[in-house]
């Protein structure tokens, strides 16, 4: 059984089973009190789950940069924001042109992808001139500048603090409204699967191997006649595009985007998710993304619970701040469970551990240089 599960076909089978299970969820009435806000067919629950899957997709794209290539970026949220804002703004600009709405919708998606690709290449080309902490700082600074521009409503496109809302007239009917939450849920699932497959493809490709090798030993890659710079740039740009795809899904789901999704705090959340799930594991990013989002939602609900409100301040205040609990949880994971959730389950299910467990996740090795 174990050998089957570990074979390629076994993994495909497990993956397919998980996707199918997720796909039929809206048709069922599963209620997990305390975890989900209501039965799985209700729009409220589906929205939460769809949001969790989009965050998981975004975390997967961050995993490419941090987990695979070992680059600590603090600016990844800007590509998510580029996807969300890009789609919203382009739809609004194209809506009055009188083109058929299907054409407008498709064109907006393509243009947003192109923008994300260009932005990813530009930022990557600049930031990758330096490495380690300086790289992190450049990405942070650029993202900060973007955030400021979005907030200040530069060019009158981003709507300042109000943000941008979705132009529903040019969006296909089956993706609009509470009655169609189910379709939005499936869309989010499709995006997650797509991003996952793209990650697998990048990691399995020659480039993926080279970028992982460059993380360990830059010199060896240079000796092989490859330029680590270009390989890293490719991975950075690919992750940017995938983040933008998740961002577009976010725009469709939430019907609006606010500057919050372009803040450095939002990128830090991604870092928390990836580490929580387990650095270097694709599943870690997904599990981390979904668990984080659900926890965040449930903790917020918990905060307003009556028994919490009755507690003395010393307990009430920390317990009613979801981000405080999540932040401290993250600190504990980093200090005591460096492999994250996936690492923990590996330790439980394979006590003697494969090669992967024996070593620290490689991305956690020193990037000081």
């Amino acid at each position: 059984m174990r050998t089957f599960l570990q074979s390629t076909w076994g993994r495909l089978a497990v993956g397919a089973a998980v996707v199918i299970a997720a796909a039929i969820l809206p048709l069922l009435a599963i209620d997990i009190p305390g975890v989900l806000p209501g039965p799985t067919y209700t729009p409220g629950t589906l929205t939460v789950l769809a949001y969790a899957m989009l965050i998981a997709a975004l975390a997967l794209s961050y995993h490419l940069i941090f987990g695979v290539a070992g680059m600590l970026s603090f600016g990844h949220a800007m590509f998510f924001a580029a996807g969300a804002y890009g789609l919203g703004i382009i739809l609004r600009l194209l809506a009055p042109t009188g083109m058929p709405s299907e054409a407008v919708f498709l064109l907006a998606i393509v243009l947003t992808l192109v923008i994300a690709l260009v932005l990813g290449n530009l930022v990557g080309a600049l930031a990758l001139r330096v490495s380690g902490i300086s790289f992190a700082m450049v990405t942070l600074a650029v993202a900060q500048a973007m955030n400021v521009m979005i907030r200040r409503n530069v060019g009158g496109l981003t709507g300042g603090e109000e943000g941008v809302t979705l132009e529903v007239d040019v969006v296909p009917d089956f993706l609009v409204g509470v009655v169609n939450t189910r379709n939005l849920y499936w869309m989010a699932l499709a995006i997650l699967v797509l991003v996952y497959l793209a990650c697998v493809w990048v990691e399995r490709s020659r480039l993926g191997h080279v970028v992982a090798a460059a993380r360990e030993n830059e010199l060896r890659v240079t000796v092989l006649g490859l330029r680590p710079y270009l390989v890293r740039l490719f991975v950075f740009a690919a992750a940017a595009v995938l983040a933008a795809v998740a961002g577009m899904g976010f725009m469709m789901l939430q019907s609006s985007a606010t500057p919050r999704i372009s803040t450095s705090d939002f990128t830090l959340t991604l870092l928390v998710i990836v580490v929580l799930g387990g650095v270097g594991y694709r599943w870690g990013a997904i599990v981390g993304g979904i668990i984080y989002t659900l926890l965040d939602q449930r903790l917020a609900a918990l905060a307003s619970a009556e028994w919490i409100q009755r507690l003395p301040d010393v307990l009430r205040i920390p317990l009613s701040e979801p981000l405080f609990i999540l932040g401290m949880l993250f600190v504990l994971v980093v200090m005591f469970a460096p492999g994250g959730i996936v690492g923990l389950t590996h330790r439980v299910t394979r006590p003697r551990g494969g090669a992967k467990d024996a070593e620290q996740p490689a991305a956690l090795q020193d990037v000081e240089a």
Partner: protein, 235 residues
């Protein structure tokens, strides 16, 4: 012959790559034991692993006590002084500050600096980064020799130095070796011949030969393990 330091099954890794594998040898309680081997064979890494500067596993016993789990500064505080390859003086600090920093408990013998390397005294206020390579090596040696040591770990002390200074450094090491046992990594086989009584030869990260120094240096093992013949050793 008793051993002051004995190493059993030492392994070390950096960034997932094994740089020392299963090394075992002894350092005699008197005189100089030389650690030899071709470039990149893991001599410096072995010394760094002994000091805990690299992640390591295996048994290291110093004067009857295990030191393989201690942090570097604790190992050094037990009386093991280290003269690193490439000297590693603090370039932004003055000569005097370099020496002051290196003083350990007990009674550091500052006078010895003047005896061994009188020219350092005039340069006490000079930034160490502006010294010549030879002078930097003198600072590096002084940092170790002025303390009360029970073992010296000296890594390639004559590397890249002019012949005249090689002589000065060799003399200083010779004097030090009379009081303190020493593990010496050295490429210059003349210096090895002058100082060492025992050699430990590494190849491919492992010990391949251990024995008296003169016997080794006169045999064809030198050629086999170090890639030089005995007549070339002057080069």
């Amino acid at each position: 012959m008793t051993a002051i330091l004995s190493v059993r099954g030492l392994e070390a890794r950096i960034a997932g790559q094994q740089v020392v594998e299963d090394v075992s040898f002894d350092v005699a309680a008197h005189g100089v034991t030389a650690l030899l081997g071709r470039n990149g064979v893991g001599k410096s890494s072995t010394i760094k692993a002994l000091l805990g500067l690299y992640e390591r596993t295996g048994e290291v016993t110093f004067d009857g006590e295990r030191i393989d789990r201690l942090l570097t500064h604790r190992i050094v505080q037990r009386g093991i002084a280290y003269v690193p390859e490439d000297r590693e003086v603090f370039g932004g600090l003055t000569v005097e500050e370099n020496l002051r920093l290196a003083e350990r408990g007990g009674a550091p013998n500052r006078a010895i600096v003047g005896e061994l390397f009188p020219e350092l005294l005039q340069r006490a206020k000079q930034q160490a980064g502006t010294l010549s390579g030879g002078q930097q090596q003198m600072v590096s040696l002084s940092r170790a020799l002025m303390n009360d040591n029970r073992l010296l770990l000296v890594d390639e002390p004559t590397k890249g130095l002019a012949p005249l200074i090689v002589g000065t450094v060799t003399k200083a090491l010779e004097a030090a070796a009379e009081r303190t046992p020493m593990l010496l990594v050295e490429q210059n086989l003349q210096v090895v011949r002058a100082l060492a009584h025992t050699v430990v030869v590494l190849s491919g990260g492992r010990v391949v030969h251990t024995g008296p120094a003169s016997e080794f240096l006169d045999s064809d093992l030198v050629h086999r393990h170090l890639g030089v013949s005995t007549d070339q050793e002057a080069a």
